[in-house]
């Protein structure tokens, strides 16, 4: 009890320290005055009485200090003294302080930014109940729906039919749910009933009725989907995402139960999904609406739901406790083999290969994770390299500072300062630096993560990844900076404190051999080596990007605009689309200065396609697959693809004329012998022998989806108006005679005039669409350049620090040399030589490492397998130039040494 009161009183002393000090001082002053008065009264002379009073009283300052000790806060006072002193010292050396803080901030900040992203993208689980019990059926991130055999037999996407069979036959799953794959490309057009707003494209994802139950989610309001919603003929319902409910409908409760016009169908919104749930995968286009799978044919008109061969679903399940995954995987693979054995497309060899892999499903279908994993891993390595450079730099700076203060330390030791006290003082200084550096690093990491997100998803606002550093990242940054402070601060502190006092008195800084220590030079060499690795990397990645961008994609993008529509969403039926296509061609042609109007299912570099198994009629099945695109007669001209043989698609190819196709060069290469003329041959696609295509022409191998497809991907193009495997045309390519700035609003108006329900889902220039396929490479290249620049900057600072330190140490030596007749250029050369020597040593180490490093990242480079001469020359040149800059400033300072003054210093 008393103890507690005592502690409270001590704390009060601490908080009202100033007050207590003033009280004590006043009390003592009174005492002294009274004593003085007493002496005077006794007849002592006034000057003498004061002295006597003081003699009796003692030193008031030391008394005050003794009283603090009584309060028990001596250590805190000491610490604050240390901190104040440290601050003063740092303030006196702003160059050093700022450099260390910036170095720490950049080194640690870059790492923290990368970790924030890694954690968000690679390690984050879905915000659902017990994500660890979720298992995904499949292990690949397939983008596009398809049918037919996969080359390696590993399946990750399945048809509705396969899903239902799996669900029925696997009691090992508590719940097995399915969701539409690749829904990024499948918006629905929505308009709230009674509202004045125009129909807008929004993301709608088709999911099984047990989707939300499988994830263990509860609605914010209303209800989530159930099994009874997911049957053919059930009333059309939808669940709205929380973000849409809040963002678009202001959290209006009346949304639940109200009718929305979705692709011209009346759909009732039955509830709102929980806050924070962004669907079953990280995506830049999270779903706004969740719709039951069985309603897909009604709402979106897609054929994939009913086609037993069309793979379009991802599957995630929650396994019952105690279920072993290996036998379950075997069982599912065997089921899949049985299903595919009934499909005509599959050969016995295909069936033998067929299998699936179960993976952890807690993070959902990790398409983005897969896309970014290798990039992020590379970035982690690079950030670690930058951190190493930063640490080397800080070690160097602290060493230099420690040596510079050797004299100061010697004097302090000579004056009786305790060694432990000096070490404590220096450590306080370093920890203070580290602390400030760590906090600055957090700011850098926040900005860095935002920058990374911006680079990775240009123009996207909806990525469910926060750039705010998590607690772990915060701790990481703080720990690293503190560790750096202690680790790299301790050595110079110990060296400094060991300084024998005699040194200070002996004028011991004069030296000819001195200068930077081996350790310091070693650190600079290491920095140069690491920088050259990063610079080579940066040069290679920008080269790779350049090559990708300048690949001949066999298309023309100048003055071309691409308008995306969804005819199904607007309510068009099979028998109505041909009329729509004609209208589109007519109306867009009617716009002034429009040269060509192409209409097709997909356009080049759009990032999507439909693939089917193909077979030449009368030939053995080679089990090849090809991408199918249906186009109108002006399509090839509108995208700039040239016809090489035969003819393109023409207006004479109609619903009643013979079934024809134009194929690309790769198709010919894949199915015909060299020199064989493909024109006139017939082939079937998608295993449908009823309507074989006759090849009427061959076009160039234009890049679709990815420029790496160039020359390696078979494709066939059918006329829009003839029956095919493909769905409705979704893209209009408008070629104009010159750039038209308001093409977007013109196109929107044109569509509205055709049909108010025909909303424009996306508008881009062809150039922008192509650039969109390079964001990945662009991001890598930009980041590598950023990191390379950062490394270079740090290395330059390091070299500059060591060189200028050398110059400072050798001032008197240089003075003697110059007094003895050395000329300025000789001194400059001498200083520069040593700076360049360290850089060259760094190059000698760094270049082989760079060569080795390239073999590790080869897969992320386009058409580059080793360090190119260009990259090497660029990296070496930049580093040498930086070394010269870092060396020339101190070298000039050395050369301007006045011999007389130099000899007089020290």
């Amino acid at each position: 009890m008393n103890k507690i009161h005592e502690v409270l009183r001590r704390l009060r002393m601490l908080f009202y320290r100033k007050q207590f000090q003033a009280d004590l001082e006043e009390e003592m002053r009174l005492h002294l005055e009274l004593r003085e008065q007493e002496q005077t009264d006794e007849g002592v002379a006034s000057s003498e009485s004061r002295r006597a009073a003081y003699r009796r009283f003692g030193n008031p300052t030391s008394l005050k200090e003794k009283s603090y000790t009584a309060w028990g806060w001596g250590w805190l006072e000491g610490l604050m003294q240390d901190a104040r002193f440290a601050l003063r010292q740092l303030w006196k050396a702003p160059g050093f302080t700022v450099t260390v803080i910036l170095t720490l901030a950049l080194g640690i900040g870059a790492n923290a930014a990368i970790f924030t992203l890694v954690k968000a993208v690679l390690l984050k689980n879905l915000p659902v109940v017990d994500p660890r019990a979720l298992v995904r059926v499949g292990d690949r991130a397939d983008c596009c729906q398809n049918s037919g055999p996969n080359q390696d037999g590993d399946y990750s996407m399945f048809s509705t039919d396969t899903y239902q069979q799996m669900k029925k036959n696997t009691p090992e799953f508590e719940e097995l749910a399915a969701m539409q794959a690749g829904f990024e490309n499948r918006p629905v057009v929505i308009r709230r009933d009674g509202g004045q707003d125009a129909p807008k494209p929004r993301m709608g994802e088709f999911v099984s009725g047990n989707y939300f139950r499988m994830f263990g989610l509860q609605p914010v309001t209303g209800r989530l989907l159930s099994d009874t919603d997911d049957v053919a003929g059930a009333p059309l319902v939808a669940v709205m995402s929380y973000a849409t409910w809040r963002g678009v409908y202001n959290g209006d409760d009346s949304v639940v139960g109200s009718t929305f016009w979705m692709n011209t169908k009346a759909v009732t919104v039955v509830g709102v999904a929980p806050e924070g749930f962004y669907g079953d995968r990280i995506s830049s286009t999270p779903p706004d609406f969740y719709l039951p799978i069985a309603t897909m044919p009604d709402e979106a008109g897609g054929k994939s739901m009913r086609d037993p061969a069309q793979n379009w679903l991802d599957i995630i399940g929650r396994v019952k406790p105690g279920v072993a995954l290996a036998p379950l995987q075997e069982k599912l693979s065997a089921q899949l083999k049985r299903v595919y054995a009934t499909y005509p497309d599959f050969s016995a060899a295909d069936i033998a290969k067929t299998h699936l892999v179960l993976t952890a499903g807690g993070a959902g279908t990790q398409s983005m994770q897969e896309n970014y994993a290798s990039n992020l891993k590379l970035l982690i390595w690079i950030a670690a390299l930058v951190l190493m450079i930063a640490c080397a730099n800080i070690a160097n700076l602290l060493l230099v500072r420690g040596m510079q203060r050797k004299t100061e330390m010697s004097v302090r030791t000579a004056l009786g300062a305790m060694r432990s006290r000096i070490v404590r003082q220096l450590l306080t200084e370093n920890l203070l630096l580290a602390g400030v550096g760590g906090i600055t690093a957090l700011a850098v990491s926040y900005g860095g993560a935002r920058l990374l997100l911006m680079l990775a998803f240009p123009g996207d606002q909806h990525v469910p990844i926060s750039s705010r550093p998590s607690t772990e990242v915060l701790l990481f940054a703080m720990c690293v900076s503190m560790a750096t402070g202690v680790l790299f601060g301790l050595a110079p502190a110990l060296i400094g404190a060991k300084a024998p006092p005699a040194d200070a008195l002996r004028n011991g800084t004069r030296t000819t051999t001195g200068g930077a220590s081996l350790l310091q030079r070693g650190l600079v060499v290491l920095q140069a080596a690491l920088s050259v690795v990063l610079l080579v990397g940066a040069a290679l990645f920008s080269q790779s990007l350049g090559r990708l961008q300048h690949t001949d994609m066999k298309l023309q993008s100048k003055n071309r605009y691409i308008v995306h529509i969804n005819a199904q969403a607007a309510g068009y039926k099979d028998e109505q689309v041909n009329a729509l296509y004609r209208l589109l061609e007519e109306r867009f042609h009617a716009i002034s200065d429009v040269v060509k109007v192409g209409v097709s299912t997909y356009t080049p570099m759009e990032g999507n396609n439909d693939g089917y198994g193909i077979q030449l009629v009368g030939q053995p099945n080679l089990h090849k697959s090809a991408t199918n695109i249906i186009v109108n007669s002006e399509y090839f001209d509108s995208v700039g693809t040239r016809v090489l043989m035969g003819r393109g698609i023409t207006v004479q190819d109609t619903a009643t004329s013979p079934h024809v196709a134009v194929v690309n060069e790769d198709f010919v290469k894949a199915l015909f012998k060299p020199g064989e003329n493909p024109i006139g041959h017939r082939f079937t696609a998608g295993g449908d022998p009823a309507k074989p295509y006759e090849i009427v022409g061959v076009v160039q191998g234009t890049s679709y989806t990815d420029v790496r497809w160039n020359g390696a991907h078979p494709m066939y193009f059918g006329p829009l108006t003839q029956p095919s495997e493909a769905g409705y045309a979704g893209a209009i390519v408008v070629e104009t005679a010159h750039p038209i700035s308001d093409m977007e609003s013109i196109a929107r108006r044109t569509l509205m005039e055709i049909n108010p329900n025909l909303a424009m889902q996306k508008f881009e220039t062809f150039d922008a669409q192509i650039a969109g396929r390079f964001t990945h490479e662009q991001m890598l290249s930009t980041l590598m350049t950023l990191f390379g620049g950062l490394a270079l900057l740090l290395a330059t600072v390091g070299l500059y620090g060591v060189t200028s330190y050398t110059v400072a140490r050798r001032t008197s030596e240089i003075g003697i040399r110059m007094a003895l007749g050395a000329d300025r250029s000789g001194v400059v050369a001498m200083i520069l030589r040593s700076a360049l020597l360290q850089t060259l040593l760094g190059l000698a180490i760094g270049i082989p490492v760079a060569f080795y490093g390239v073999t590790l990242v080869k897969s992320q480079l386009y058409e580059l397998t080793t360090v190119s001469n260009g990259a090497l020359v660029a990296a070496v040149g930049i580093l040498l130039a930086a070394a010269c800059v870092a060396g020339i400033i101190p070298a000039r300072r050395a050369a301007s040494v006045d011999p007389v003054r130099a000899l007089r210093t020290d």
């Binding site: 004590l24 005492h31 004593r35 000790t69």
Partner: protein, 109 residues
């Protein structure tokens, strides 16, 4: 006049006793009171008086309040608390035990 230093460890005892006798005093009065009461034999080292008072404040043996002296000056007056009274009794008994023991040692032939 020959004055003696206060024996170590007895400063608290003397301060507590002085306060117990006089009610409330400021630092200067405490020092003078001890000196007078001891017939000018004991002189409080004023340097150690104030740290001792601070410690006693923290221990809760005394409380302090600002008041005015007869000469109309501001001064901090110390007063014994209940805890201080108990402490005084404890210190006295301890002192007597030690003194008795020393006395016996001296008197032993």
């Amino acid at each position: 006049m020959n004055r003696d230093e206060i024996p170590p460890g007895t400063l608290y005892l003397l301060i507590l006793k002085t306060l117990a006798r006089h009610g409330e005093l400021h630092g200067y009065e405490i020092a003078n009171s001890i000196q007078r009461t001891s017939d000018e034999v004991l002189q409080v080292e004023e340097g150690s008086l104030y740290p001792a008072l601070q410690r006693m404040l923290i221990k809760g043996w005394v409380t302090a309040e600002w008041g005015t002296t007869a000469g109309n000056r501001r001064a901090r007056y110390y007063r014994l608390t209940a805890v201080g009274s108990r402490q005084l009794a404890l210190e006295i008994s301890q002192f007597e035990r030690v003194m008795g023991a020393i006395g016996r040692v001296i008197q032993a032939a």
